[in-house]
Amino acid sequence: MIMLREIIKELFYEQTRAILIILAVAWGTFAIVITLAVGDGLRLNFVQTMSDIGSRILVLTSGTSTKNYQGILANQSIKLTKRDAKAIADLPNLSSVTWRYNFQTKLRYQDKKTYADLRAVTPEYVLVHKVKTGPKQRFISYLDQKKMSSVIVLGSDTADRLFIKDNPVGNIVYVDNHPFTIIGVMQKRPQMIYADSVPDRWLNWIPSSTYELLNNPDKVDAIEVRYKDVGLIEQTKNSIQKLIAINHGADPSDPGIVDFQDVAQKQKKINNFFINMEIFLGIVGGLTLFLAGVGIANVMYASVKRATRQIGIQMALGATARYVVFRYIMESLVMTVIGGVIGMVVAVVFVYFINRIPLQGQILEWTGKPELSLSFLVLSIVVLVLGVTGLLAGLFPALKAAKIDPAEALTYE
């Protein structure tokens, strides 16, 4: 390319101008790459934390009838029972079903006490929620359930508050003064959304049978199911609703009977939030780059004006208007490309080091450790924005330069 050399030479002639423009573009590129990398990193991190746990969880809680039907009046609360849970367990598209009782009480371990949230659940709970315990530890088993054992799995948060450090399996925790043997401690994991009202790490679990023995409850607080196919979720909800309605003598078509919460829907909302955030960040970054583009256009405009006579000379020597336009656009593109490459390289190095900083803090227990992400998508967006910026920034000064009348420019003082 003949012209490229000329342009780079020209850039050398006007060093300060070129350096300023290149720095502006580099900064704009850096800003857009980093903002996009942050946004994308947060979203991917969220997707990652979700994929560890899975989102195909449906939580059923008591609803209220909305119409009179046989023995049931409108506005009557429908209490979910163990029987409901067992009835829906055979429905297609459900892989596991558990029920739970919620309560809060004092826990005591050696001389440490804390107030904690407990969940009395069936062994299937672990299949629904994928709670992991430490090595040589376990979750509630079918045998525990059958024997109504006084065993407990602690949440990581409770374990911290009770200052449990080594493997506590076999030790006793007093639950409201009843001795319970520790069989496991939940492994920490990031969790940004959860099926329950609080994150898993705040919970502690005992067998539902043990709870039933002590308290003889007439209802469960929630039934939780893991389903297989998201595509069939509406049919599944419908079948569940019908079965429960029949169990309670309510209208099978009454949607008020059960209250459903779908974790997948929450996830979708949050994912959308992240995508919107990325779009927003992208626009902010794009604007930074756009401003750099306006800067280029401005500086080049001024330099075209200053160089009117020189452009006239070049035209006299045979440069066509087309050549002049092309040359200025190329000049702008060359500067944008140089600035863009610098900005991207700096951003990549920056991201590399940031991702190696060991992050610590409370917030990470919620979010996990997000890494800045330089995906192909992010980089393509940046390249596209850079190209358009360079082109447009060069176009206007170029058109001005092309309009120069050589005869006038040469008489111009």
Partner: protein, 224 residues
């Protein structure tokens, strides 16, 4: 049989500035043969530069027709005019009009760039011409580091590098002391001897006398 390189018929040029129209040239009829040495002589404001711009394809006439090397350039688009300038004309201006930040070598190579000639070839051609004009030791100087006489020599080299049919010089000695001016005029004399068509625009009768033919212009028209 001599060939007419420039044929100008009933050309006029009117400038529009705001509401005022100014007729800088009218009823110009002029033919110049290939290899001729012509001086266009006239007082300041008489229209010499305007005529030179038309001859040099930097501007088109408002009326009349102009044939350069048989082509009616008065009907050319600005793109074609640029190509015609590059192909047929070598300009030398009063104010040298070199690119100040560029080296002498780059300045002289410039017209070849617009022909799409490769860098190496451009350089060697430019170097050759500069050597012929005694500027071999200044190739890498920036043009604004040279004396006026040297700058005008560089400008002549730049005009010659494309080996054009016509050398068009507008007051080439206007910014030079008499000695350097003489040197430059001698260059034109040599170019004429070498067979080039040379057109000198000047208000200086002494300079005009170097030419074979003097065309006097006054108030935008040729005096006969």
């Amino acid at each position: 049989m001599s060939e007419k390189i420039i044929q100008i018929h009933d050309v006029g040029k009117t400038y529009h500035t705001g509401k005022i129209d100014f007729e800088a040239l009218r009823n110009i009829n002029l033919e110049i043969e290939k290899g001729d040495y012509v001086a266009i002589l006239g007082p300041s404001g008489s229209g010499k530069s305007t005529l030179m711009h038309i001859i040099g394809c930097l501007a088109t006439p408002t009326v009349g027709s102009y044939f350069l090397a048989g082509k009616e350039v008065s009907k050319f688009t600005s793109n074609d005019l640029a190509k015609a300038r590059n192909l047929y004309i070598g300009f030398v201006f009063q104010k040298f009009n070199l690119m100040p930040q560029m080296t002498v070598l780059d300045n002289v190579s410039l017209p070849l760039l617009y022909r799409g000639i490769k860098t190496e070839e451009r350089r060697s051609k430019a170097k050759e011409v500069l050597e012929q004009l005694g500027l071999a030791s200044h190739l890498m100087h920036r043009s604004n580091e040279l004396s006026g006489g040297q700058q005008q020599r560089v400008a002549v080299a730049r005009a010659l590098v494309t080996n054009p049919e016509v050398i068009l010089a507008d007051e080439p000695t206007g910014n030079l002391d008499s000695k350097s001016g003489e040197g430059v005029i001698n260059l034109f004399n040599q170019l004429h001897e070498g067979g080039k068509t040379v057109i000198l625009v000047t208000h200086d009768t002494a300079v005009a006398k170097n030419a074979n033919r003097i065309i006097q212009i006054q108030d935008g028209t040729i005096r006969v």
